[in-house]
């Protein structure tokens, strides 16, 4: 199990953990596929944004793929996922169709929200994905409400509630922590600490920077996890999820991770150096780590390339679909405001 380390160092993710247990080769391979799908999807989304097919804000998940992929390994049918606007990876990992996600990004009727929601506001009732939320912090109590429904119904499902290091300072997060522990809600608070909230580093916004300790005054246990290593994420996620399913209440997983791209699409990125970004990419890339293990385990470079090739044709097909799908009918403007 990852052991906690307290002090932050200059290298954004240079935390020292004891080696996490290995994944089986099959699990590694599955994780590689999932992470590659997310990365290729995001690269394509960035490209479509540059071509004008996607408007408004578009927050890419590149660099953070191991977090959601490692946690989804412990998810089961009926569990819920809720996150912020940096949501494309979570949707793909939750099993949503890249065509439907990409078509929402281009604002087309075939998108998951019929083109009405956009990049930041997408949902799938079928896959238990509850958004896609644009207001920093606001999705955290909503996630606790999803967990509450599991407790109320007496099932053993859990809610995976993702939010950022910046969001972790919002007041409603602490109101939620208190009630989650008070009522023993089956929720995993996943703080994706990518070190920055827009242009503000965690050191400049937070009086204490070990976010896994943020539940301490409510007696919610937590730990920091190397969020660039899918093995560490899986191991930490599994024990937290098992405990929550067994009725032991909430848990905080602080995932130390990093976003390679800007906050949204046009971010001058003057708040960090190119060297910092490069170092993380070179030394900690979540996909490169798995790839290396698979090569050592006997897979060939050609086999790995073929996987990438297959994923890219899937993503290219999704992009083509999303570029050519029709916009919503204009009568859609007035529908879906009220239920019933």
């Amino acid at each position: 199990m990852p052991t906690e380390k307290t002090s932050q160092t200059a290298d954004a993710v240079a935390h020292v953990w004891s080696d996490p247990p290995d994944l089986s080769p099959d699990q590694d391979l599955a994780a590689l596929r999932e992470m590659l799908r997310i990365r290729r999807f995001e690269e394509k989304a960035g490209q479509l944004y540059g071509m004008g097919f996607i408007g408004g804000f578009c927050h890419l998940y590149i660099g953070q793929e191991a977090v959601v992929v490692g946690l989804q390994i412990s998810a089961k049918a009926g569990d819920q996922v809720i996150t912020t606007y940096r949501d494309h990876g979570h949707m793909l990992a939750a099993g949503m169709d890249p065509k439907g996600v990409m078509a929402e990004l281009t604002g087309r009727a075939a998108g998951y929200s019929k083109g009405k929601g956009g990049s930041m506001h997408m949902f799938s009732a079928e896959k238990g994905f509850y958004g896609g939320h644009g207001i920093v912090g606001a999705s955290v109590p909503v996630g606790a409400g999803l967990a509450f429904s599991n407790l109320y119904r007496g099932n053993d499902n859990v809610c995976f509630c993702y939010f950022g290091d910046g969001a972790a300072n919002q007041g409603q997060v602490y109101e939620t922590f208190n009630m989650a522990e008070l009522w023993n809600l089956p929720i995993i608070f996943v703080i994706e600490n990518n070190k920055y909230a827009m242009g503000t580093s965690i050191e400049r916004s937070s009086a204490t920077t070990n976010l896994s300790n943020r539940g301490a005054s409510f007696a919610i246990p937590g730990q920091q996890v190397d969020g660039m290593d899918v093995r560490a994420v899986k191991a930490a996620g599994q024990s937290a999820v098992e405990a929550a399913r067994a009725g032991k209440g909430p848990y905080i997983l602080e995932m130390i991770t990093y976003r390679y791209r800007g906050h949204s699409m046009s971010d001058p990125a003057k708040y960090r150096t190119k060297e910092e970004v490069k170092k993380v990419r070179d030394d900690h890339d979540p996909i490169a780590q798995v790839r290396k293990r698979l090569l050592v385990g006997g897979m060939s470079e050609d086999e790995l390339k073929q996987i990438d090739r297959d994923i890219r044709s899937e993503i290219n097909a999704a992009a083509e679909f999303a570029q050519n799908a029709p916009e919503p009918e204009t009568n859609q403007l007035l529908t879906d405001v009220l239920a019933g």
């Binding site: 290729r40 690269e43 394509k44 960035g46 490209q47 944004y49 540059g50 071509m51 004008g52 097919f53 408007g55 408004g56 804000f57 929402e104 604002g107 087309r108 009727a109 929200s113 083109g115 009405k116 929601g117 990049s119 930041m120 506001h121 939320h133 644009g134 207001i135 920093v136 606001a138 910046g166 300072n169 919002q170 007041g171 909230a197 827009m198 503000t200 400049r204 916004s205 800007g262 949204s264 699409m265 046009s266 971010d267 001058p268 990125a269 990419r281 990438d308 090739r309 890219r312 044709s313 290219n316 083509e320 570029q323 916009e327 919503p328 204009t330 859609q332 403007l333 007035l334 405001v337």
Partner: protein
């Protein structure tokens, strides 16, 4: 078959940029995610990453070339067999953002802003009683200034004048403002007076109120007013009501400011007009300027005002330029509307971005021989009903234009007041042109339909004229 790598846009409003540097040369193999070039706009530099795997066969644009239009092919890449086709597909022109009306993501530079037609010079009405302040613009030196700069200049001048004024908000200091409104303020005033906050709106709005009750004069910037919903309790319960609750003993001289209303394609949670929400509240003043001159003069007045002032800006107006008088004390009084265009046939009342539609409609109505009187409210609370009633007594027709939802809106209030106070002056029932009564959709076609347009204003004006 080689495919083309195209010049990307860094924001929907970017039309061209400079290829600052190639990080690959012809013959290099690249993989997805590799940085192949750096491109530059005036203020930002950005990396271009390869999306496909393959070999760069040709660099089509020389390093250092400027003014390269978005979507120009900049290099050729010979894929292995998986080179992506969509890379070479040119965007469907319908889907391409029209730079004019479409703003970009959080970080935008003045040079990338839509170059909308500057608003007409501030036609100060006779009702504009500015007291001792010089209101006659003839002979006064004016400088073309963007809304963004005008707001910054107002804050800087007031901070120079009064050491108790300080600015606080998310990304206002080191980042120079999410929309670059506070550019240069950290350098001039230091981090004691230009303060980056965590993302904790309720907390820092409340801290602002407390500091104001203790006599300081905070300017609290909300990255957008959408996020001030986290803080609305502090604005209303702590800032607006304290003077009354304390029997006049204490009050909060604080300005809450930031962009309000629809931006472009940012969806339901980021596109909402709060005019009616705050105009409803006794104890607040609410200001909503549409020109750089008004923005500067009103922000200076707001900072000096002893009351809490809600100052509503609009992201899509930050880049518009207009003449701003270079007089020492350019103060525009809170509570006074402005006649933006005089006319006798129909009164069109609007504010903030609604003025864009109102003025465009007035131009088009003029082509049909209809003379509109366009009133820019500038302040929503207290409302300058006198200017509206005077105009309606002349035109006998009223159209109100706003981007907000129609139910219980500022437009509703104006129609109600005019109907109650000047029923006999009206030759037709007043008309409202508002946003459609739905959350803002993301899809380009639906978003357009959800917002008012100059066409809607023209139609409403003709309707009240029975044309």
């Amino acid at each position: 078959m080689p495919s083309e790598i195209l010049m990307p846009a860094l924001s929907p409003t970017m039309e061209e940029g400079k290829l600052a540097k190639w990080l690959v040369k012809e013959g290099d193999a690249v993989a997805p995610g590799d940085i192949i070039a750096e491109i530059e706009t005036d203020k930002a530099t950005m990396d271009v990453e390869a999306v496909d795997e393959g070999t760069i066969t040709k660099l089509l644009v020389a390093e250092g070339s400027a003014n390269i239009a978005v979507n120009t092919p900049i290099a050729l890449i010979a894929g292995d067999d998986l080179a992506a086709t969509p890379n070479a597909v040119l965007p469907d022109p319908e889907a391409r953002q029209e730079p004019k009306a479409k703003p970009g993501p959080a970080v935008k530079q003045a040079d990338e802003m839509p170059s909308e037609k500057p608003h007409p010079a501030i036609g100060l009405s006779s009702g504009d009683a500015l007291g001792s302040i010089n209101t006659d613009l003839s002979g006064v030196e004016v400088i073309e200034t963007t809304m963004r700069e005008a707001l910054r200049d107002a804050m800087a001048q007031e901070m120079r004048r009064d050491a108790d004024v300080f600015l606080m908000g998310e990304e206002v200091a080191q980042y120079q403002g999410a929309y670059k409104v506070s550019q240069g303020l950290l350098e001039e005033f230091g981090d004691r007076r230009v303060i980056d906050t965590p993302i904790t709106e309720q907390g820092f709005a409340g801290i602002g109120v407390g500091a104001a009750l203790a006599g300081l004069k905070p300017i609290v910037e909300f990255m957008t007013w959408n996020f001030a919903m986290q803080a609305i309790d502090q604005i209303i319960n702590s800032a607006a009501k304290t003077r009354y609750m304390s029997g006049g003993q204490m009050h909060a001289p604080i300005v809450f400011r930031g962009p309000n209303g629809a931006a472009s394609r940012v969806g339901a949670q980021h596109s909402q007009c709060y005019s009616a929400w705050y105009a409803h509240v006794p104890g607040l003043k609410v200001v909503a300027p549409s020109t750089p001159a008004d923005a500067k003069g009103l922000l200076k007045s707001a900072i000096r005002d002893p009351n809490p002032v809600v100052f509503l800006e609009n992201e899509l107006l930050y880049g518009i330029a207009g003449p701003v008088p270079q007089v020492d004390e350019w103060l525009v009084p809170i509570g006074k509307a402005r006649i933006a265009r005089a006319g006798s046939d129909v009164t069109i009342v609007s504010f903030l971005r609604g003025m864009t539609y109102a003025l465009e409609a007035a131009d088009r109505l003029a082509e049909d021989g209809i003379a509109s009187e366009v009133i820019d409210l500038r302040t929503l609370r207290p409302l300058d009903l006198e200017t509206i009633l005077t105009s309606v007594s002349k035109t006998n027709r009223l159209v109100v234009v706003e981007e907000a939802w129609p139910v219980c809106s500022v437009g509703s209030e104006i129609c109600a007041q005019v109907s109650m106070q000047a029923f006999d002056d009206l030759d037709a029932p007043p008309r409202k042109v508002s946003g459609v009564d739905v959350p803002m959709p993301y899809a380009a076609n639906l978003e357009k339909l959800a917002l008012p347009s100059a066409d809607d204003v023209v139609a409403a004006a003709k309707a009240v004229l029975y044309l």
